[in-house]
């Protein structure tokens, strides 16, 4: 009796396995993104000369992600501190971190802070900050519970950015011109034209610093853009993905945000502390919301809390604690600041060396932009074929749009990289 029942049960399970297909049989395999493909190609490349210049992290002279021994000291001290228990959980993260991060962007004397019309939120990294900001806009922009865009992103921006806005429910993502390949700088005419023709009330995502091409907007440019945006009621969403690494100081990198705020604009700003603290794994991000009136702060705060609760409930505390500790202590801050200056300075030095080498090699094209720009990211102007040549023939990997991370260049690979670039730019196209 027992065995018959057992075999019947076994048979029905077996039948299930045959007759019932997976409920996910129609799930498509996701196409792997460019970055992943590029990284995979690099990892499986066994040429000893291979160089990866397409990463986002700041690398030191030894080709390693920046690890501050000073930060290591702080971490060890914190791990043995018995008083650091589980603090009262807050969806907004650590209050002291938010306070410091907000100050870092807007400046201590910002009228927005003084007038209590600023919301600062600790987020899960930079992506988390952009996502949260996107969710806030989608749910509450102009009182429209289902606002869907348009959202304008610059050309040559990070390819995952569009995905974040779309995931938040805004399918209408468009591009405005930014990088002028010919002039190797910002295409101001095109940018202004595109913003002029954007529908009123569109959201415009702007890099306050460290655009992937390295091209920066000057103060005059910002004045023009801000005036246009105010006239056409366009909403600025500012990005600070590597806060501090362009000009060596958080507040200096954030100047465009302070400027827009000083004009009375409402804005969102996403920033990441991963790079300037070497805290990549801990994913310390921040979303800033500057409002026109303090009277709406409580409502916006409460709705933001609601959104956070359905995304990640609270952000992880470890990294934010370190950042808060460092930024609130003048001695720590000074020591940390040295490290940030060093990183920014090293980026500038590498840029100088690259430019000089390319000049000496007689590489076609103009390379002034290398030293006119700041920070780790830079667009070489290489086209798709040249990028492919670079990876396949020379084992040097840059992003498909020709952008690269200058911090990944060091004294060991400088010669090889510049020669490879020279070759790619002078060679016949691959058949």
């Amino acid at each position: 009796m027992q065995s018959r029942r057992a075999s019947r049960a076994g048979a029905s399970k077996h039948a299930d396995k045959i007759t019932k297909p997976s409920v996910f049989v129609d799930t498509h395999a996701a196409a792997s993104n460019q970055e992943a493909k590029s990284l995979f190609a690099f990892k499986t490349d066994d040429d000893v000369r291979k160089v990866y210049l397409a990463g986002r992290e700041y690398l030191n002279e030894q080709g390693q992600p920046y690890v501050s021994p000073f930060i290591g000291k702080i971490k060890r001290r914190m791990s043995s501190d018995q008083t650091l228990g589980s603090a009262h959980p807050s969806s907004f993260g650590l209050a002291e971190f938010n306070h410091r991060a907000t100050e870092a962007v807007l400046g201590k004397k910002s009228s927005a802070i003084v007038e209590n019309r600023v919301l600062g939120v600790q987020t899960v990294g930079f992506t988390g900050a952009v996502r949260l900001g996107a969710e806030l806009l989608r749910h509450w922009y102009n009182g429209d519970a289902a606002w869907q865009g348009p959202v304008y992103l610059s050309s040559h921006c990070d390819d995952s950015l569009a995905g974040v806005f779309q995931a938040a429910g805004m399918p209408d993502v468009r591009q405005y011109r930014y990088w002028d390949a010919g002039r190797r700088g910002v295409c101001m005419d095109g940018l202004l034209e595109d913003l002029e023709t954007a529908p009123e009330r569109s959201v415009v995502v702007l890099s306050a610093s460290a655009h992937p091409t390295g091209a920066e907007l000057s103060r005059e440019h910002w004045a023009l853009i801000a005036r246009l945006m105010m006239r056409r009621q366009l909403f600025p969403f500012m990005l600070l993905p590597v806060a501090g690494l362009c000009h060596g100081e958080l507040e200096r990198d954030a100047w465009p945000v302070q400027y827009c705020q000083s004009l009375g604009m409402e804005l969102l700003c996403a920033q990441s502390f991963s790079h300037c603290f070497g805290l990549y794994g801990e994913h310390v991000g921040h979303l800033l919301c500057v409002l026109r009136q303090s009277s709406v702060l409580l409502a916006v705060r409460s709705q933001t809390e609601r959104l956070i609760n359905a995304l990640w409930a609270q952000p992880p505390v470890g990294g934010a604690r370190i950042v808060a500790t460092v930024l609130s202590n003048p001695a720590h801050r000074a020591e940390w600041q040295e490290g940030v200056w060093h990183m920014a300075a090293r980026c500038m030095l590498v840029r100088e060396r690259l430019r000089e080498k390319l000049r000496l090699l007689g590489t076609p094209g103009c390379w002034d932009h290398l030293t006119q720009q700041t920070g780790p990211y830079c667009c070489t102007g290489l086209n798709v074929e040249q990028v492919e040549y670079l990876s396949k023939r020379k084992h040097v990997y840059v992003l498909p749009n020709g952008c690269l991370n200058v911090s990944a260049v060091n004294s060991c690979n400088l010669d090889y990289v510049t020669e490879a670039l020279h070759e790619a730019l002078s060679a016949e196209p691959l058949s």
Binding site: K13, D16, S22, V23, F24, V25, D26, T27, H28, A29, A30, S32, E57, P65, K75, R76, S79, S80, G85, S86, A87, V124, G125, T127, G128, R131, W140, Y141, N142, G143, S160, G163, V164, Q166, A167, A168, R201, F235, E266, Y280, G281, E282, H283, L291, R292, Q293, V296, A299, S302, Q303, N309, A310, L311, W312, A313, Q314, P315, P316, G318, G319
Partner: protein, 410 residues
């Protein structure tokens, strides 16, 4: 004019408001039985000894790099976590059809799972698929699935107030009547807020209907180890469903059983039909993670991973979990005993029959208000108490307060 001038104030999250009110209360005997976190007998949060030990090991380990984790998370964490839920000898793991996504706590795991189901389950981008959550359930379930894009979130019968137990016939009835392909969010153990779990027989009945009607199983497992003190016992329902051939998701949280509330350690375990399906599913999960938080944070996952993957540390952790579970069981026994000794009207067996951190006392909203205002004992309007808020020092006061409330207020 602010572009946000039309934004209405969101209602406060009840449990946070309760804690805020508690903090403002200056009454010397005040007790907080609201928030869902473990507290020691001194009413303090408890950093597990094994966690402190592992944290030190990690800080001293200079070989650990500081780079971003992969998008899906720390591989050793993901596999060890899935094993904890499914069992070391799980056939599904052996058949290579189990995968996982490291997430920001249980909330993050639910959100990623929800986002995936909305995009790829029951058609593509089918926001109309009904999602069923228990009545009552953790208040955040609704928000997570709504924000993931689902338009139709419904309750299924669960708590029977009259008999102070599971409304199994109502539950089974809802399963029979639910549209095919509906998603049901099941609490793996230690149901929040009622503390009432189905028996093994009841789970078998639930599984039978769900299989027959092609309903999707999404387990929420936030309290593994906390319910009975045994990881394996607490995972019985999950493992049973897997053995019955279900494809399912398990949103795991390590906030409670590791005391890592602030590190946000969660894991979405995916049990697929076969490896081929699993691969496609994970590829889409990766896309979803990339647009949500890009990479998960490393600290908490390293702690859990190191603990689960080292036999000595794993044993120590199980001991720590049992310590917590035992204290809860002790408080349950004592509360019931004291209420019975006081001769408090009503039956109080449910206090010891219920499982996990929470207990649905059966106090009605008027009685709850009285408890808070007159006795300064804070609990949820639903009558839910957190057993961890009870200590040897306050249990007499709480028992007396319940007694006074039940006798004064109907």
């Amino acid at each position: 004019m602010s572009i946000f001038s039309e934004v209405p104030q969101a209602p406060p999250v009840a449990v946070f408001k309760l804690t805020a009110d508690f903090r403002e209360d200056s009454h010397p005997q005040k007790v907080n039985l609201g928030v869902g976190a473990y507290r020691t007998d001194e009413c303090q949060p408890w950093v597990l000894p094994v966690v402190k030990k592992v944290e030190r090991l990690i800080v001293e380990d200079s070989s650990l790099n500081h780079e971003y984790l992969p998008i899906l998370g720390l591989p050793e964490f993901r596999s060890a976590s899935s094993k904890v839920a499914l069992g070391d000898d799980s056939p599904a793991i052996k058949e290579n059809r189990v995968g996982a996504v490291q997430a920001l706590g249980g909330t993050g795991a639910l959100r990623i799972g929800g986002e995936f189901l909305r995009r790829w389950y029951n058609g593509t981008n089918n926001t109309a698929t009904p999602i069923y959550v228990s009545a009552p359930t953790w208040e955040n379930h609704n928000a997570v699935f709504a924000d993931a894009g689902f338009k139709d979130i419904r309750p299924y019968h669960y708590w029977d107030g009259a008999k102070k137990g599971l409304d199994i016939s109502g539950l089974l009835d809802d399963l029979e009547k639910a549209p095919e392909a509906s998603v049901f969010v099941l609490h793996a153990c230690a149901h929040n807020p009622t503390g009432t779990d189905p028996t093994q027989d009841e789970w078998k009945q639930i599984a039978e209907v769900m299989k027959r009607r092609n309903l999707f199983v999404f387990f929420d497992s936030a309290y593994q180890g906390f319910a009975s003190g045994s990881l394996d016992k607490d995972a019985w329902a999950i493992r049973y469903f897997v053995s019955e051939g279900f494809e399912l998701f398990v949103a795991q949280s390590f906030s409670k059983n590791f005391g890592l509330y602030n590190e946000r350690v969660g894991n979405l375990t995916v049990v697929a039909k076969d490896n081929e399906n699993l691969t496609r599913i994970l590829s889409q999960m990766e896309k979803i993670v990339r647009t949500t938080w890009s990479n998960p944070p490393s600290q908490g996952a390293r702690i859990v991973s190191k603990t689960l993957n080292c036999p000595e540390l794993f044993a120590e952790w199980k001991g720590n979990v049992k310590t917590m579970a035992d204290r809860v069981l002790l408080m349950r026994d004592q509360l019931k005993a004291k209420l019975q000794a006081l001769g408090t009207p009503g039956t109080w067996d449910h206090i010891t029959q219920q499982i996990g951190m929470f207990s649905f006392t059966g106090l009605n909203p008027k009685q709850v208000e009285y408890m808070i205002k007159e006795k300064h004992v804070y609990l949820m309007a639903s009558g839910r108490i957190n057993m961890c808020g009870l200590t040897s020092k306050n249990i007499d006061y709480v028992a007396q307060s319940i007694h006074d409330t039940v006798t004064s207020v109907q």
